[in-house]
Amino acid sequence: MMLERASLRLAMRVAILAPLVAVCSGRAPGPDEANSVQTVPSGVILVKGAWASASDATTPVPEGGAIANTVYTNAYFGLTYPLSRDWVEKYDGPPPSDSGYYVLAQLEPRDTSNGHIRGSLVITAADLFFSPTRADNALQFVDFTRTHLQADYKVTRAPTQLTLAGHPFVRFDYFSAVAGLHWYVLATQIRCHIVQFVFTSRDVSLLDRLLEGMAAGKLADDEVPVCIKDYASPGNILERVDPVLAGRKFNPIPVRVIIDREGKVKHTHVLSAFPEQSQAIMDALQRWKFKPYLRNGRPAEVETGIMFGHATENGVNATPAATAAGRPSRHW
């Protein structure tokens, strides 16, 4: 059964769109239809288009983080980040993109100063299986950002590797003279994603304090599946059934799967797809069989990505093809 898991906090304001039974059947909607309302709620996205979903509700997914008691926690990334005092998330991020980009949290001070916002923090994740940056690690990802900065930005700290709370990060700072805004970027690799903390403010001392607060964050060392970019390659697929995608949307459909020790698909996370596409893909993947992944000679769970639908230049295609050398990654 497919479960809607996209951006769980946003999902609280997003209703699940039931199948278009009334319209597709060509009959007039009747009063006995489900989801009848007296008034359409304002500020609610009821017609969602391509969205994220997962095959079960318990396996953590990247967009499943949440803030509780002033702490942002993300079980998928094993990430815990205590918010700075009086900082809040006023607005949830958008759903995962069809290039594997997530806005995990966007934070700012509760109060503005004379109508102006003093600073902000956006926490993002980019799936290295699908990212158009073609980066393989945090340094490459940040370097991509640096090389694509607008000309008027001044780099104040070139991408530099450092250790924060015992974990490797890349730090990168830049500055806009015209705006008077400073950006501090901290990036690290987790489960073949680049997780970024992007701090922005006109006040460098505020940014420095926020950066010091990063020390209070945690990245857990829980056992997670090995992530391998190109594991869904012909040499590893023993059985496959191609999903039949109805309609002609031409949208990219990035999918992450966790393959169990026996080579069966244990969990499917569709990052972006229309509901009928997600269902078809999940149904098909249940019938795929992979060669079990061996770590130190013993079967181990593996996580990989498959691109269905309209293949992008940089995505891993559903017709598995050789991609950049994938290697097990377990960076924190």
Binding site: V23, A28, S36, L46, K48, S99
Partner: protein, 478 residues
Amino acid sequence: MVRSSVWSVAVAAGLLIVSTAGAQVDPGIRPGAINGQPGATPKDPMPLESVSANRPDGILDFYSNGLTRFQEEDTVGGNGLGPRFNFNQCSGCHAQPTIGGSGLPTNPQFTAVNNGIAGPGNNIPTFITLNGPTREVRFPFFFNSNGTVNTSAPNGGVEALFTVSGLQGAGSCSLTQPNFAAAQRTNNIIFRIPTPVFGAGLIENIDDSTLLAIHAANAGNGLGISGTFNRNGNDGTIARFGWKAQNKSLMMFAGEAYNVEMGITNELFTQERPNPEEEVQGRGLPANCLNLGAAGYPEDTTNYTNTSGTPGSTAANATILSDLEAFAQFMRLLAPPIPSTNTPGGAGSISNGKNLFTSIGCAVCHTPNINRTQRSKITDSLDSQTVSAYSDFEIHHMGTRLADNVSQGSAGGDQFRTAPLWGLGQRAFFLHDGSQTSVYSAIDSHRSSGSEATQVATNFFSLNSSQQQDVLNFLRSL
């Protein structure tokens, strides 16, 4: 006479719109040359430079002919107006600051009944006001027979404002307007305003590879922006016209509008269009509302036997086109607006605002320059040109505040094409629904849950008042 009256109303309506916080002020509709083009008038926009110079020979006739047809007032018996429609001429809605633009500060739909454009039995809905935006209406969901809204049954189709019933030529056709009051009462209603079409030929002539390269180059942004493209369901290439980039080409844009907005069937949309409820209930339009012009379908066709021009002359060539093709030609050959370098706020403020616009991240989506259009077989002003539309032509999630719960193509209920900003300086209404008359408020509307633009708007509100004013001045200079 017409020129001066329209312009004075426009200026008055947009003047000095004070923002809700701080000292920054939306300067309002920019005075001075229309579209920044000396020589343009409210009824006479400027064609592309090479078209103005008639390169290739004869192309100017196509532009002029298209402009004339764009202003044509359609009637039931003449061109097949209706039976349901929103207005009777393209230029009635695409008029600000000149023909081809968005809606005027004074909405002509408000006087449609009094002016005999709509049938005498029509009521002007309360959301159509004299000084409000020119609008089309959609009901996001179908109603149940008991009057409740069925959120399992997305609708999203245009609900035409008016019917021809009672007009000359309508015969016994008796249609009622959709129940707009019920839609308002149940909050099951959304609005759209006309998109300007200046420079549309340049947009049409951008190769997909150029747009994809811009998309890829922005992948490392730390602003929460991703975006995607609305692809045409026939060939999978990038669609780029309309509020959700749902239309592939100007021909498609024109054909859909001619049928949906004016009720005129054409060679792309060959059947009379019922309202969505009539269609889904399996009834369609009543027989006595079909073929009101008694000339058969489609109502707009190629003019096979046109003899209005000298045979073999270019004037004859232009008149042979169907209206649909002539509209597309006109839009394709329209020049883009020219930004002002010093109004409003002075050159320094505009320059600073432009730099700030880029620095805070607006330019990630509102791409200032796209280099370049593909080679053009039509005219050299479309050939290998920079497109300063301030759009990436992607669709982006805009969040709960702007969501309209209408899906078109691949675009979901909160996804919209990055609105091109060229010409913004002389527009009266902003956002897809025309709900904002202030640029400042329009920026603020970018911040909401689920929006890709929240962080960039946050950066805007991190600027001091003077900097924000520079951004507003820059935007009104476009």
